[in-house]
Symmetry: C2
Subunit: 422 residues, 2 copies
């Protein structure tokens, strides 16, 4: 029997009826002899309700004293849902105790609303586990060294669960969510998309950052860092599904290099259409240009994704980057007002009707020709590539957004992802 961490999202905790079902599922695992730690999110809608009240009183801003109070406020959502889950487990006849982040304690830095976990004390939790209790730990929150409550930011409950699993050296961390695993691509776009039984951390990392919204990216980084076996699975199966079957369901995110040996070269096709591209044309190709352009953008807190600069011609080069579509106008205004005048007012062009499509696969590290196969496949469909960017296990292209579905399906087929696979 093993030490297991379960994490349940806000939808799974969305009503007392759902909380009862979570309790029955956890009770099943506890009765099977496992030492159980559960990390729940707040009941769905609760965090937004609380922050909505705060917004009625004051617009949200960066002031640290203000953000400290937002964390005091928002952290109550998980404390309440954790206590309710403990009560539901007790009603099932299971001994259970809930702890807020500060009671464990889960120590974080003091970056309110986006704190980072620094350490987790496992002593109290271990005592409870040894006494046969299910331990429920609030997700999303911790406490800084001055005993102020902090929160980890959106999706932070995944990170909490992984961090707790790492601190307790858990056998596995099961993330129960509303999807039943990680797919080779989005089944709504590619009906032939197939659930992966395993996926490597690196691939998961690339897929998460590319828009597979299954797991919060920081939780995957954390799991990789501490080598926590992570499983994504559905909380919408019947609670009394056979436990051995459940333990093998979903997608296991692995960290062992060896396990990847037999893996396909490309594991999945990711895509998103949340971005817009901006190109500054014919700027002098001299040191400091990239910083001059992107420094101003970063200072305005605009996140930049792809950055492309090609070789120069006649001492001039073109400089392109992508930002979130919501930031497009702000970035453009900023460039025109503050950056371009200092560069001699070069031309600037932009396009919001683009999408990014990526192939992701740990096998790309050791296989040549993967990118060119991607480009050929797109070319055969008559799709023009506007930008290319590559990393060790990923190749991304920017194309006209109207071709997105076509491109994703073509690539899914080209890399044989729809085949049945062990």
């Amino acid at each position: 029997m093993a030490l297991i961490v379960h994490k349940y999202g806000g939808t799974s905790m969305g009503s007392t009826e759902r909380i009862r079902l979570v309790a029955k599922r956890v009770a099943k695992w506890a009765r099977a002899g496992h030492q159980m730690v559960v990390v729940p999110s707040a009941m769905s809608g609760e965090t937004n309700r609380l922050l909505g009240l705060a917004k009625e009183l004051s617009p949200q801003h960066e002031d640290s004293a203000h953000q400290r109070e937002l964390d005091m406020l928002a952290s109550t959502g998980e404390q309440a849902s954790s206590a309710l889950l403990a009560i539901a487990l007790q009603a099932e006849g299971i001994e259970a105790v809930s702890y807020a982040g500060w009671q464990v304690p889960i120590r974080t830095n003091n970056a309110f609303t986006k704190a980072r976990i620094e350490s987790i004390d496992d002593q109290r939790v271990r005592q409870d586990l040894q006494a046969g209790r299910v331990v429920i730990i609030t997700g999303f929150q911790g406490v800084d060294e001055d005993n102020n409550i902090t929160t980890l930011g959106r999706g932070g409950s995944d990170t909490s669960a992984v961090a707790v699993a790492a601190a307790l050296k858990a056998h596995e961390c099961l993330i129960f969510t509303d999807v039943d695993g990680v797919y080779t691509s989005d089944p709504r776009v590619v009906p032939e998309a197939r659930r992966l039984k395993t996926v490597s951390f690196e691939e998961m990392l690339e897929m998460a950052s590319l828009g597979s919204k299954v797991l919060q990216i920081r939780s995957v980084e954390f799991a990789g860092k501490y080598k926590v076996p992570l499983r994504v699975l559905s909380s919408f199966t019947e609670w009394d599904i056979d436990i051995d079957e459940e333990a093998q369901s979903g997608t296991l995110i692995t960290f062992e290099e060896d396990e990847q040996m037999e893996q396909a070269i490309v594991s999945g096709i990711a895509f998103n259409r949340d971005e817009a591209k901006i190109s500054v044309i014919s700027v002098p190709d001299k040191p400091g240009i990239a910083y001059q352009i992107l420094g101003a953008v970063a200072q305005a807190n605009i996140e930049v994704d792809m950055i492309i600069q090609n070789i120069s011609k006649d001492g001039k080069t073109d400089f392109s980057f992508t930002v979130h579509r919501n930031d497009y106008s702000r970035a453009m205004d900023l460039l025109k007002a503050k950056v371009l005048p200092a560069l001699g007012n070069p031309d600037v062009s932009g396009d919001t009707k683009i999408c990014k499509v990526s192939i992701v696969g740990i096998g790309m590290r050791s296989h040549v020709g993967v990118a060119s196969k991607m480009f050929r496949s797109l070319s055969e469909e008559g799709i023009n590539i506007q930008m290319i960017s590559t990393s060790e296990i990923k190749t991304s292209v920017v194309i006209d957004e109207k071709y997105m579905e076509l491109a994703v399906r073509a690539l899914h087929k080209a890399f044989d992802l729809e085949q049945n696979q062990a």
Copy 2:
């Protein structure tokens, strides 16, 4: 300028609009140069909402592990309202910080759902006050020595405010509520009832236990023990009322003997019709009888108020007591099943259509004939007295409930309470 504690009840904190008004009132006091500590209740309805969710999952019961979770759950209400008030104050341009009970910390014993405060550490709060911040401390809750969250039970926020004021040696603790002070009697029954500018602790204690629902009785005990000047006043005045006028409004509950010297003999007429009386007739007058009867009642967690036993005749005596009307049937059943058989099945009678009317006044200690004046006044109205019980500063009678209003008005007049008074 002084250190002042404000306490605001759930109705005052009932919406963001109301919280904004509380913030404006507190800001006014802070701007006048006072060091401000504020103890808010949860937003009205929130505690019941949370405990309602728990009830859907499990019936409430006495198990300590269960009650621990109820406290984890219920304490979130005050944490959220405290953070919201801090945010509202910051929006007013006032530096503010909120603390949950465990952050102060407010140490209690571990009697979950009805904990008692044992100590309050004032260090962190003082640092903030010295730095010019308004400090908001969650009412109703504390933390036991094992870092479990505890709550103080219904009305516990009043107790929190008084305890905080005691720990900080505050100049005054202002309890803002939905009434504008303590009256000589209930204005709904006695239209001539007059607000008392001051009332002694002892009187307040008697009035609170007799049904003046202005303040939670434990908070008054606490204030008396630590000699915290306590003022009850309305939170429904305009927030921008002149601060000197506000500081003199409501009713001041005093602990100085000297201040009582000029006080009237009787300060108020209290009453309630929540009780029922039970009499056991002609029981043997021998040692242990009172315990035999009341021990069983107490073991069943039934609270007894008045207890009367008169001198015996022929070795027999009558024994009467009052209980809450809700407990009447249970107490009767218990007596008949378990107590009376052992006493030779004496007759028992009961009456739920009674009321208790009391005159309360610290002056009674030093004045004779106060009780007899009360009895004469009732007799003149043709009201029969069924039971009498007296304490140092109170005389209570039980009468037929249909005479309650008549009795209260007659006594209010007999003791000249409607007169204008300094």
